[in-house]
Subunit: 380 residues, 4 copies
């Protein structure tokens, strides 16, 4: 367990290993947090939910950190407002790394001595999964932060712009009742429960994602200029934001380029399109006279196609499953309170840490969000 713990903790630092100090404090928009904040917040989680309740005689690393690094747990009192994270130069990055070390050392002690209390174990696993979620956000936030600069450099290696296999096949699923949701013993979020039955009609789902080249046809056919393909609020979004292509695309000498975490590259037409909003995913599906799958259709068929490169927008709103119960205490604020006005994404992305994905996993974002590695899989 100690090994697992340290391995997860180390990966967060590995993600940041090519950053310079200045990169750690930038917050270009409210939903993109400074890397320093992620590193401290995930540490605060272990300190708050494990060291304080379980390690006798544990002393807080710093009395201000509870206020500074709580994200949104109202149960735990006042917090530094989310949109104010970029105004804080202190604590220094160096001090945040010391905080990580301090908490790691105490966690190691705790892990060596802790009784195998069920609550303790569950919270530990939760903390590790929490940090893994933030690892994915770290990568996407860093990408967004670095991209704000003129001539942004590469800072991490991910196969973002790699071709997928060629040749689309349609997978057919027969109508009927299917089980949905998590039912095993392993780790899962509260929003994956309860396992329940969902009836679906006959449908077909693509075994490949929509590629950059295919999306380019939509652009060239005037997709961003034709209201017919868009939701009413999607059309407003396109016009207000003057969006004409996926995030990170730009043209240089008449060629499409794309900023990736590896640096600027020529756009690979065979790579799956990414960094598109729900509005764009929907508009694309309308243009090609198909549709997005529901999250249920996705889950039912998920054993029959490859997934894991893009978070895939579904046509399902983020709502509680039948019998959903939010856990007591601060942990209960993790998922339930966000179940309105967001759309479900299924799968995982190239930024998702190893072992942090499963067919029942439900991710969710607001419809205009594009800074995650989102993608499009079609259904009919």
């Amino acid at each position: 367990m100690i090994e697992k713990f340290l391995s997860v903790r180390n990966y967060s630092e590995k993600i940041c290993s090519n950053l310079i100090t200045e990169d750690f404090v930038i917050q270009p928009s409210e939903e993109v947090s400074p890397p320093k904040w992620h590193l401290a917040h995930t540490t605060w989680f272990f300190e708050t939910f494990l060291l304080k309740p379980y390690l006798k005689g544990y002393n807080d690393f710093h009395p201000d950190f509870g206020y500074l690094f709580n994200s949104y747990y109202q149960t735990l009192g006042d917090r530094n407002p989310r949109n104010n994270r970029a105004s804080l130069s202190r604590p220094s990055v160096e001090q945040v790394y010391k905080y990580r070390d301090y908490v790691n050392v105490h966690m190691e002690s705790l892990l060596q001595t802790a009784e195998s209390n069920k609550d303790f174990k569950e919270t530990l696993i939760l903390g590790l999964n929490h940090e893994q979620q933030h690892q994915e956000l770290l990568l996407t936030d860093i990408k967004y932060i670095i991209s704000q600069n003129l001539n942004p450099p590469g800072v991490f290696s991910l196969p973002e712009n790699t071709s997928q296999a060629i040749g689309l096949n349609w997978i057919s699923i027969s109508a009927g009742n299917y089980p949905i949701g998590y039912s095993g013993d392993g780790f899962h979020w509260d929003n994956e429960r309860e396992k329940h039955v969902q009836y679906v009609n006959d449908y077909q789902i693509a075994d490949k994602l929509v590629t950059n080249g295919e999306f380019l046809h939509f652009i060239q056919d005037g997709g961003y200029q034709n209201f017919n393909y868009w939701h009413d609020e999607g059309w407003k979004w396109v016009n207000d934001s003057q969006t004409q292509h996926p995030l990170y695309w730009f043209k240089k000498d008449h060629k499409w380029q794309v900023y990736t975490l590896n640096g600027v590259e020529e756009l690979n037409l065979n790579a799956p399109v990414t960094h598109i909003s729900y509005y764009e995913a929907f508009a694309y599906s309308q243009w090609i006279q198909l549709r997005l799958p529901t999250e249920f259709e996705w889950e039912i068929a998920s054993g029959k196609f490859n997934w894991g490169e893009r978070w895939e927008w579904t046509q399902s709103a983020y709502l509680p499953y039948p019998g959903f119960q939010k856990p007591a205490g601060a942990i209960g604020e993790y998922n339930g309170k966000f179940m309105v006005n967001q759309m479900v994404l299924r799968g995982a992305s190239i930024a998702t840490p190893q072992g942090h994905s499963r067919p029942t996993y439900r991710n969710f974002f607001h419809a205009p969000m594009r800074w995650q590695f989102t993608g499009i899989r079609l259904a009919k």
Copy 2:
């Protein structure tokens, strides 16, 4: 058919019969339109979709009205922006009434001579249902407009503040597959199709609505001050808007009063609570440790309880049914393009015109909206 037509058309004018000219031009917020606009827009619908295509030699009443009274049909070209409806003093209310008469007279001619063309008939029925939808909006918009005044007078008689029967019973429904959606020959909106199967678990649903008195307990118990009951964005909404009670409630001499279309009345504790947002409906359900039904649960059980006084918030987002197809042309913009970030309401309200309700009807509003006659029915 002529009789039906005139009866619907007359009711719009009846709704406005106690207004003074000044009331017709007010737009206190973007979603509340001036009554003058409703009267002209519903008329424009008949002119655009029936008189122009079907009545030979028909001359537009006025060349500007297409621009002024199109609501949101992009297919039909530019429109006066929605938030600008209150800046137009012209045409006068009198001229709008002349417009109505002019279109009515020509519609009568058309109805006497029109062949029983299927398209024509369907569009006529659509136009009448469209006007009925606007009659409900007229009443709720007028209520909101008049309420902006100091000491607002009564302008229409509706049993808003009437007691419902006492004694709550729980209706039990067994788990299984049930048909959902419209399947008959009568009029229905595109969003009610296709009829399809939905699996539901065992559940119970209340045969009565939550009352003002019950909601008052929530208020008195600090419901508006406790974040635990609220969605994250609902809690933000409560704090930003400083909401402490349903819309139109106010206290005078320590007694709860309520503004109704009949004028100011003492709050009837046995009347169903109304003018609450989805956030409030959800928070109430959390406080009382129950939940809102899904739209499917509502529809399945709808034969077993009385409904029709309040539009009832459900826990379902407004999404397309399986097999949903938007119609071709401007009519296709009626429903489909709004299927994101709205919640479904089921039932009907005291402001719904006679004959304009059925168990499969899906209404939808954004979560913070309160100016409709919304209500709460609980499930478990």
Copy 3:
């Protein structure tokens, strides 16, 4: 005195005589008030400052009107917020006219019997001048309100678009100390006092205003596209508002048209340019390598040229004269509290009522405001 009183009061109603009821309730932007409000507010002034203190046994016309029709006098308690004037359909226009009649009748009684108390007389004169100020605003607000409509009609006759005499002469003034400010016995505002000395250098001032034709040269020479002529915030204003010409100008069939209170007319190139902001007046002066006069230069030379068609922007900020004292009570809020971030205009306009102008009169508006009959006189 009664005759004078009634004459002023009647003129306000004459200004509105071609309006329809709907025109009276529109407020297209915060600084443009509904005509109904002007008619009631000027009446409220007489009721509050004369009838209540001086007419024994006077009964308020309506208990709500103090709240509704106070403009900005904090001394007198809460008010309906300024940006909310368009949300009030009640009281009706008819009732506002009744209010005017009621106050007029009581004022007549009072004027017949009142002792010639100095305070009373001064407040009466103040009230009449106050109503005259609002008559000018009524005309400019009505113009703005009607112009919001498609194909706006004419509603009042003013020589807006009339040629001025041709041939510009420069008037030379010698350097030295000059008296500035009001010193006689007649009516004047507190901001015109104290009379004091101002030293000016040798300067020359134009005896004519800049014309539409001259301003057109500035436009054609790219004046709105060249930052060099503009203040930093003026340049931001041009770009944010996308301003390309004076307010009310538009092109039809390649010809410049202008909306006037008489209706739409072809732009008269020999008429003085009007409806331009301070930013535009300044930019024009920079382009032609001259400058705007200070308010002192204007006043000193004002006996030597014709003025009274346009309010003329000066290069002086609105600040207190030496020895300025604000009067006690609510009247003290009339001028002093606005003496920051506004520019002084001198002269009068075609909308200024007869007898309501003098060389020491100081008008003031924020730099971006354009809905008054503003103009440009150059100096060097």
Copy 4:
């Protein structure tokens, strides 16, 4: 000259010597720039206006820096938008220091070889004065940036909170014509010219600044709650911003504390009040039934009192002097384009570099700004 040059350049770096890297990239509000930006922008000034035109064969340090570190010179092309300075993590602080070294080395070469060309000399002096202005801004921006942190540390030593001499005397000046503006041969800004005559009435001006203790009386007497003392827009500002005391004041254990660049200290009642807006300075003067001096009164009397600790708000708007001419080229954008809607401050502050003050110096800020070391001197 080289010595002078290096001395000025070194002082900028001395100001930043206690900062950590993270402090250099924060921009908490639009008018407060990251220290990194100041260090690079002042360097860019020398590179652009001296090295490029005068040093043969000079190579730009970096091709992007022209875009990144131009502040507001439209003449010189596109710039990184002002409110976006905090989104740039690159170039690093280290690289900015290298940029400074590179430009310093080349400037030394240039200074050793440059002919004593008049234009060159003037631009050099301008560049040094420009950097000195930014040194003052560096200190006030750093103060604001560090203060955003919880428990902000001290980072620079300035006698902010030091008592001034006790005992106020009124200096009397007789009415008459006085010379205003700069007339010598030394360095001065274009806004200090032309020297001209100003007539003033008899007046008295205080020989001391208003103290913290005196300002506290205003607070305790309800000064922030009484609209009578405030401009209309000042009153709106107080209420919108909920301001109740000068910036950086806070109460701890019922005692007034103040954050200074030295760290948190107990408020010294005998130190001059600082970090107040023009609105507050004006309101204080109204409360105590005196007034602020005009900038002319200040300049005329400035030889008779001590000044230099606070920038002193005057009752004068920032406007051009008679005969003001903006210089040709980019330098012409330095002052003239800001001459609208700002107020003049006179004197200098404890943050002003040695040798960068004189009686004719005109500083200017928008009325609500408080992050400079502003102060209050009274007149009557």
